[in-house]
């Protein structure tokens, strides 16, 4: 059975994925409350206004991690054991990230959100980057 692995990209979230390809983090920002938020919405969850996309600082803290010891997607089997983590950005939202070297990652430490292509020809997606406060 075919196993297409790609994020769902549409008119609502396209700015995030286009910036990701360029290695930049942009997040939806609520002008009424001047807060970044996640996930993308046509109306700010903190009010009833249309958000803007803004560049966001990529620094944060890794809050939790889970490590794959069994593959569910065949495409990711060669990457095992890899982690998935919850990165709390200084900008406010928490985003999930791929962690290529789970042994080297320390939960509770400062880290940053980066972007990388995980699968051959695949789009760039959020990954755990090194320590940084950008």
């Amino acid at each position: 059975m075919s196993e297409p692995i790609a994020p769902l990209v549409n008119d609502l979230n396209r700015p995030f994925w286009e910036a990701a390809e360029a290695g930049r983090l942009v997040l939806p920002w609520c002008p009424a409350t001047t807060q970044f938020f996640w996930p993308p919405s046509p109306f700010s969850p903190f009010g009833a206004v249309a958000p803007e996309w803004r560049d966001a600082p990529a620094g944060g803290v890794l809050k939790a991690m889970a490590v794959y010891r069994r593959a569910f997607q065949k495409a990711f089997e060669p990457l095992m054991p890899y982690g998935v983590g919850l990165l709390e950005l200084d900008a406010g939202p928490r985003l999930q990230v791929h962690i290529s070297d789970a042994d080297a990652a320390t939960v509770g430490r400062r880290a940053s959100l980066g972007f990388a292509s995980l699968l051959p020809g695949g789009p760039k997606v959020p990954i755990l980057g090194g320590e940084g406060t950008s």
């Binding site: 059975m1 075919s2 196993e3 692995i5 790609a6 994020p7 769902l8 549409n10 609502l12 979230n13 938020f37 996640w38 996930p39 993308p40 969850p45 809050k63 939790a64 991690m65 889970a66 490590v67 794959y68 010891r69 069994r70 569910f72 997607q73 065949k74 990711f76 990457l79 890899y82 998935v84 983590g85 919850l86 939202p93 928490r94 999930q96 990230v97 791929h98 939960v107 509770g108 995980l118 695949g122 789009p123 997606v125 959020p126």
Partner: protein, 397 residues
């Protein structure tokens, strides 16, 4: 109970319950499981199928059968039908909807049916499972999946939340063993649990990791089966030999402060880090409607598709304080003979992964005094607790 508050007291009761065998039978039809549960429930309630005028299905196609197929196949003619999505979580919500239907006269006797067959499918997250596409659902999968990051399967969200929980409260994750070990001992007292072999603390520690920190024995075994519960109104219950009254109910919650596999305010996703206080937890709507709190519950059923989930329910419903459940469940407290016997037929972890319906069936048996070697002496009140905030209080008629 406030006079102005919602109430189901005296308006709805469970009249019958039935179940199929729990097994893995890939060449069976899901309708065979559904039929065994439906006819078992009818027989248990002393009803004919012509008396069923409401039908609510949890788990339709492709894992189960949809309400229209169920009604046509079994010759039912309901005038009130409903159906929830094809995942778990909705057991209490289905029963609440049935209770509201009979309380308002929309129906008099509602068959609530959960039937599913998984043995011919891959695991959720794999390409040969019909839910594969859900890991790419807009704004996150139903269990926080993010397939493009390699985050597939419900196990991942449960594992990440448990990692966060243990770090937040500086807990030794090995204490979690108390939950699967207790429920396995309960399952050994049934004749229908799929996992009845001995499980020792050593077995638990040695079990292979699936997605760390969760191991194989922290995950409920997926299989095939069905449970049917029939709900009726005041008149139907009054004529019944042993009704189990629905005296308290609380709906499933959602929103930015919730996480499917965590307590309110754990800090997963966009949740706050503001946990419920003990007072808030003991003031949950379900306790108010029932006019009885956690200390009055003789036996509990808790959603346990993964072994950490009961911890969060015990905390959010006020059995112990936030962050205290891992210590609270030790030393036999949730076992038969303990202070708060829980999942006395083995739960999803050992009896069968029936999305919580197995626990509800067991609570009915407990309230009727029909739980055999698992019977909690003089069980009068039982509670169902879902990690999603859904809850029921059932009382012996």
């Amino acid at each position: 109970m406030s006079e102005a508050g919602p109430s189901l007291g005296g308006k709805a009761a469970i009249l019958g319950v039935g179940a199929s065998r729990f097994e893995r039978r890939p060449h069976a039809s899901v309708l065979q499981f559904a039929g065994d549960a439906l006819h078992g429930a009818l027989s248990d309630a002393g009803l004919e199928k012509a008396q069923i005028d409401g039908l609510i299905v949890q788990i339709g196609s492709p894992r189960g059968a949809d309400y229209d197929t169920i009604a046509e196949t079994f010759g039912l003619a309901p005038r009130f039908c409903s159906q929830t999505w094809a995942h778990g979580r909705f057991a209490a919500t289905v029963l609440i909807q049935a209770a509201m239907a009979v309380a308002t006269g929309m129906a008099t006797r509602v068959a609530c049916l959960m039937a599913m067959k998984n043995s011919d499918l891959g695991r959720i997250g794999e390409a040969d499972n019909p839910f594969f596409a859900e890991q790419f659902r807009e704004n996150g999968g139903p269990h926080a999946e993010a397939g493009h990051l390699g985050m597939a399967s419900p196990v991942a969200g449960a594992a990440m939340a448990f990692d966060l929980y243990c770090r937040r409260y500086s807990h030794d994750r090995e204490l979690l063993a108390a939950i699967p070990l207790t429920f396995r001992r309960h399952a050994q007292l049934t004749d229908d649990a799929v996992m009845r072999g001995d499980m020792t603390a050593q077995d638990y520690r040695a079990a292979r990791a699936i997605i760390a920190p969760l191991r194989l024995l922290d995950c409920s075994p997926v299989g095939d089966g069905a449970v049917c519960v029939i709900v009726g109104g005041r008149a139907e219950a009054a004529a019944h030999r042993a009704p189990a009254w629905i005296t308290g109910a609380q709906g499933l919650r959602a929103g930015r402060d919730t996480f499917v596999f965590g307590p309110v305010g754990l800090g997963m996703g966009q949740q706050s880090e503001q946990r419920l206080t003990r007072e808030q937890a003991q003031g949950q709507a379900v306790w108010g409607m029932a006019g009885a709190g956690p200390e009055a519950m003789d036996v509990l059923g808790v959603y346990d598709s993964f072994s950490p989930l009961p911890l969060y329910a015990f905390e959010d419903f006020g059995f112990c304080g936030a962050g205290e459940a891992l210590a609270w469940v030790q030393d036999g407290r949730i076992g038969l003979g303990g202070e708060r016997p829980t999942n006395t037929a083995g739960g999803q972890l050992s009896q069968a992964q029936m999305n919580g319906w197995g626990q509800i069936r067991e609570l009915i048996h407990q309230l009727r005094g029909e739980a055999g070697p698992r019977q909690v002496k003089d069980a009068k009140r039982a509670a169902w607790l879902g990690v999603g905030g859904d809850a029921l209080v059932l009382e012996r008629g």
